[in-house]
Amino acid sequence: MKLILHIWRQPGPKAPGRMERFDLDGISEHMSFLEMLDLLNEKLTAEGKEPIAFDSDCREGICGMCSLVINGVPHGPEKGTTVCQLHMRHFRDGQEIWIEPWRAKPFPIVKDLVVDRSSMDRVMAAGGYVSVNAGSAPDANSVLVGKDTAEQAFEAAACIGCGACVAACKNASGMLFVAAKVSHLGLLPQGREERMRRVRRMVEAMDQEGFGNCTNQYECEATCPKEIPVAFIARMNRDFLKAALFSS
């Protein structure tokens, strides 16, 4: 396959950036999107040019490191798929593709397509944990968790923290991410004790980082590679109200 690529190039955090065009040939449709970029980088390196900086780690859809906006959609056109798991067979020969970094104030650009997502880590550090040391694993079935609750918690726990929800949101809001974390921990017995304090602290941290505000447009749900539903945002809203009204 042959592709026409338009890629965001930016030498550093403060430097001005622009879209640069590359014509790439010899792409196999079995390649992943990142392998296609690897191919381009090999070519650029061989030509003595600066390769394109982009993030990846596991390349199996679980670490949340890969982060490209492809033709306006974070993680590209395939539903429920990270870029690293996106294959070139979903594109046409000769197609023009625009590749951009996540765009949000809390995600400053480091270089080209690489953004700094430590704002999400700081939100996690504000309450995205269980602080009780529960000792060794309890006997199976000594702590009962209903099947529905376990499934709901698991659905939220699928969040890999990639930030696609923020990148997709019209307002660069981080609410789907925070809602997933708050719900995942708050639904289970180990995390339930700190549920009220957690939601207050994590929302406060989220606001401090400069994420936007949700306007219920659900672009996040449509792009999330783990297809986490916006019902969790409603759940977080409820928890947050409860925490504000009743917790000390």
């Binding site: 338009h6 965001w8 879209m19 906006v69 033709n71 306006g72 959609v73 625009w98 951009e100 765009r103 949000a104 104030k105 809390p106 997709a168 019209k170 307002n171 660069a172 809001s173 609410m175 929302v203 406060e204 989220m206 606001d207 400069g210 994420f211 936007g212 505000n213 949700c214 306007t215 219920n216 447009q217 659900y218 672009e219 749900e221 449509a222 792009t223 916006v230 019902a231 945002i233 409603a234 759940r235 977080m236 809203n237 409820r238 928890d239 947050f240 109200l241 504000a244």
Partner: protein
């Protein structure tokens, strides 16, 4: 009370503020519509209602002040959030794409601000009577307004009728997203009920559109007219 201020300044608290003031405005819009529809019972019914309001100034002014406060909160919070949201994405995408957001959801601030502009005009027109004076001036024997005659004369002018219909269409769009959005913001989301609430919200927004537009429509088509030999 510090926690109240902290709550309403937070992102989620601000959303509650939008949702609560929005839904109160919706109740007003429904009440206002019910009053308007009295016109189909004839001039006496509509005028009696209008005069009743003016004969109860305490009730009228309390309502107006509460409504104004709600409105100011709704609009100022909307603008504050919009500015924050714009700041949260300083550089926009070269190739932006929309997957799920709708025209209505994307234009909330736009439809809202146009509504604000129209409401100001509407007050100058019907409440204060400084626009289109020949139609809206006092006309009753005691100097009180003949609201029926005012409405029929005003909407007899297609330009005023069209402006009104356009504004109501904007309200329709605002509420098409707004009512469904209210439930999500309040945290009332459930796989069984959310689709129903969303549907009912859209249906209600359409009903409101039809209810309001029925008045200028009836004047333009001659269904509502001034009494023969009237003023």
């Amino acid at each position: 009370m510090g926690w109240v201020a902290t709550f309403f300044r937070s992102s989620i608290g601000s959303k509650f503020l939008m949702a609560l003031t929005g839904i109160l405005l919706l109740f007003f819009v429904l009440g206002h519509m019910t009053g308007n529809l009295l016109i189909f019972q004839g001039a006496e019914a509509l005028n009696a209602y209008a005069h009743w309001l003016h004969d109860h100034p305490k009730f009228l002014w309390t309502s107006r002040i509460v409504l104004l406060a709600i409105f100011v909160i709704h609009v100022t919070t909307a603008i504050r959030l919009k500015l924050e949201n714009m700041a949260a994405r300083p550089v926009s995408y070269v190739k932006g794409r929309t997957l799920k957001a709708t025209l209505a959801s994307r234009s909330m601030v736009f439809t809202g601000l146009l509504l604000l502009a129209y409401i100001l005009f509407h007050l100058l027109h019907f409440t204060l009577g400084v626009v289109q004076k020949d139609a809206t001036g006092p006309s009753g024997p005691g100097g009180e307004k003949d609201v029926y005659a005012m409405v029929v004369t005003s909407f007899g002018n297609p330009v005023y009728a069209a402006g009104y219909i356009l504004a109501i269409a904007l309200l329709w769009l605002h509420l098409w997203h707004g009512i469904a959005s209210f439930f999500q913001t309040m945290g009332w989301s459930h796989p069984r009920w959310t689709p129903l609430f969303t549907f009912l919200g859209k249906a209600l927004s359409l009903l409101i559109f039809l209810g309001y537009v029925s008045v200028p429509f009836s004047v333009l088509t001659g269904l509502l007219k001034l009494p023969a030999g009237g003023n």
